[in-house]
């Protein structure tokens, strides 16, 4: 059996994978797409994709949802949640076996680094690469916040991990997004609280979303500052009045540093969030190695899905050459 490109994704809600696969078909690049949902049809471990059949891996997603639902005979909220967590862990335990059975260098992004990415660590790596980052601290007391505010800084609070979405019993939905803390709302902050990440609030001229692909930066400016809804966080989408998104070219020096940062994490693709302040300075925020890139590709006409297909092809051909 000849070696091929392996795409790990999910069967639903993954337009980006579909789009890349359509380019692969069109460019006649052979590939195997394995969705997390397919693991439920495997008979035994030998059915998992093996190292010898795989020339390159693009790890995009684990799974959208389990094709079967399980519940305990006597359920309550806590046991239901524990069961859910258990099933996720079980699935991940199986899925991540591939991280070890398929040679690490074949993965477009190092999968272990990708699955365990730590925001605080990435910020410190960025600083080591000479990239400016907003002042960031993790605090547990109102006193610490007051001290920082006294220094004239306005702060934002955001999770160290990832944002969550909550639902109440009436079906109301709550999004966790970046929030501002200032002297006006300081009274809402308790004296002591769970360790929380606070960051200096940057008054932005615009935001930048860069898709990094094999050494090249494809950037887009997002003009969200005129819109009250998206002023603090552009993900707070305004559908009536979408933010203006246009192509942008980062300074060569910053692109070089970002390349160094991505290489140090062993990522060949990923989304990078940056902010430009009113003086025109760049501030690095974070990396999303599996970030959506359709939202950059389409408005900037970058054809990133095609470029990714070509990169996978290049990597798999390279792998074949080595073994000939």
């Amino acid at each position: 059996m000849s070696k091929q490109i392996l795409i790990l994704s999910q069967s639903h809600l993954e337009g980006t994978t579909d789009h890349v696969c359509q380019w692969m078909n069109h460019l006649r690049i052979p590939y195997l797409r394995v969705n997390g949902e397919d693991f439920f049809h495997f008979q035994n471990l030998d059915d998992l994709p093996g190292n010898n059949e795989v020339a390159a891996v693009w790890y995009r997603r684990k799974i959208s949802s389990f094709p079967v639902k399980y519940s305990l005979k006597q359920t309550d909220f806590n046991t239901q949640y524990t069961l859910k967590r258990f099933l996720v862990d079980e699935f991940n335990g199986l899925h991540s076996l591939l991280f070890y059975t398929i040679d690490r260098h074949k993965w477009l992004n190092d999968p272990i680094s990708e699955d365990n990415l730590n925001k605080l660590h990435v910020l410190s790596l960025a600083r080591q690469c000479g990239i400016s980052t907003p002042f960031t601290e993790v605090v547990t007391t109102k006193a610490a916040i007051m001290h920082l505010l006294d220094k004239g800084k306005e702060l934002i609070v955001k999770p160290v991990s990832e944002c969550i979405f909550l639902e109440d019993a009436e079906g109301g939905q709550y999004k966790m997004l970046t929030k501002t803390i200032n002297n006006a709302n300081l009274h809402l902050v308790p004296e002591k609280f769970f360790p929380s990440l606070v960051q200096e609030k940057i008054i932005k001229k615009f935001e930048i979303r860069t898709f990094y692909l094999d050494g090249a930066c494809y950037s887009m400016a997002i003009f969200s500052q005129n819109n009250r809804k998206t002023k603090d966080d552009f993900r707070n989408y305004d559908n009536q009045r979408p933010n203006r998104t246009v192509p942008y070219k980062l300074p060569a020096d910053l692109e070089r540093k970002l390349d160094q940062l991505m290489k140090s994490l062993r990522f060949r693709t990923g989304s990078i969030d940056l902010m430009v302040d009113m003086q025109g300075n760049y501030h690095f925020l974070e990396i999303n190695p599996e970030g959506q890139f359709g939202m950059v590709s389409y408005p900037c006409n970058y054809y990133l899905e095609k470029k990714l297909a070509e990169l996978l092809h290049k990597n798999s051909s390279h792998e074949k050459e080595i073994h000939q």
């Binding site: 380019w23 069109h26 246009v246 070219k249 006409n301 095609k306």
Partner: protein
């Protein structure tokens, strides 16, 4: 006149050439340099242009020029050899054959199914089944009016076949735009009769579209015919139902044979920038084209016959009344449908 296209918001603004000149000047110069350049007398006018740009969120002001805001790359490509298909539906033709399978395996994105005559919805459902399991995204159904085509029934149809995203019902008792499927699918009832492809090729400002796909494709290719394929009423494969040449019959032709045929691609590279009249028209990259009905049928680069716009003085006229077009109208046998 000039056209300012907002490809993201899918809008366009028809502006005087003088305004366009000022905006182009502002790409490289500050507002104060612009004021100096055009003189104090024009200060108010220029301020008006800038306010318009800010108001429509087409730009923002800053204390410096930002060369990092690079021009949009206008290249165009698609992952399918055929992006759009028109089928002139005929109950006698088998649409499940290998030609159709191969064709839709190419990742065709859009399909228009045209029914010139009354057809039962059972027949339409049978046809729609063919596209289950393909990557086709969009189906437009053109149907002949029948009093059984109630909105409730059409609503059920589009929920069963969610690829159907638009319907046009011709020969209707009245002109009436409706919506079904929670307002997501338009159903347009029109009283006019669409009984052949002779009705196609009309250029109207209401057909203009300002978006990334059309604007970029139009820079390089013919937006009406590039990577498009049609199957006519008798099952013959064509670029468009209105064009005279065919490339074989669906029963005995493979898709690859059609794609390998040089003649099939002869219109693909005719850009608006090369067509008489269109090349000077500000609407050229938001407009589609028509190569089937031409002002001068002998000249493949001639202006579309069914366009009544004169880009040289910015006026629209009724193309059917233009005496210079009468010979071509008669030649194409369009006399009956324009009356």
């Amino acid at each position: 006149m000039s056209l300012l296209c907002d490809l993201q918001m899918r809008r366009f603004y028809h502006i005087p050439n003088d305004t366009a000149d000022v905006l182009i000047f502002l790409q490289q110069h500050s507002i104060s340099e612009c004021m100096t350049h055009y003189g104090e007398d024009n200060r108010k006018t220029i301020k008006g242009y800038i306010d318009f740009i800010l108001n429509k969120e087409l730009g923002f002001t800053d204390n410096q020029l930002l060369p990092e805001l690079t021009p949009l790359d206008l290249s165009w490509d698609r992952y399918s050899d055929i992006t759009n298909v028109i089928i002139e539906y005929n109950e006698e033709i088998n649409y499940t054959g290998s030609f159709f399978r191969e064709l839709f395996d190419l990742h065709v994105q859009g399909l228009e199914i045209r029914c010139y005559r009354k057809t039962t919805l059972d027949k339409i459902r049978e046809l729609l089944e063919v596209f289950n399991g393909t990557t086709l995204k969009f189906i437009k159904l053109v149907l002949a009016y029948d009093d059984t085509l109630e909105l409730q029934i059409l609503d059920k149809l589009v929920k069963q076949y969610p690829r159907v995203k638009a319907l046009l019902i011709h020969s209707s008792p009245a002109d009436n735009p409706e919506k079904i499927f929670e307002g997501s699918v338009p159903v347009i009832f029109v009283s006019s009769n669409i009984n052949s492809c002779l009705a196609c090729g009309e250029i109207r400002s209401s057909y203009f579209i300002s978006n990334m796909e059309l604007f970029t494709e139009s820079q390089h290719y013919n937006t009406c015919l590039n990577r498009k394929l049609s199957i006519d009423l008798n099952g013959y494969i064509r670029n468009c139902p209105s064009l005279p040449d065919n490339f074989g019959h669906v029963m005995d032709t493979s898709v690859q044979e059609v794609l390998d045929n040089k003649a099939f691609h002869k219109y693909a590279k005719i850009r608006k920038d090369e067509i008489a009249g269109c090349k000077d028209c500000e609407f050229r990259h938001v407009c589609t084209d028509c190569r089937a009905y031409l002002e001068n049928p002998q000249d493949i680069y001639s202006k579309p016959l069914k366009c009544g716009y004169d880009p040289y003085n910015g006026t629209w006229e009724d193309w059917t009344k233009n005496p210079l077009k009468h010979a071509a109208i008669a030649g194409y046998g369009l006399g009956e449908i324009i009356n």
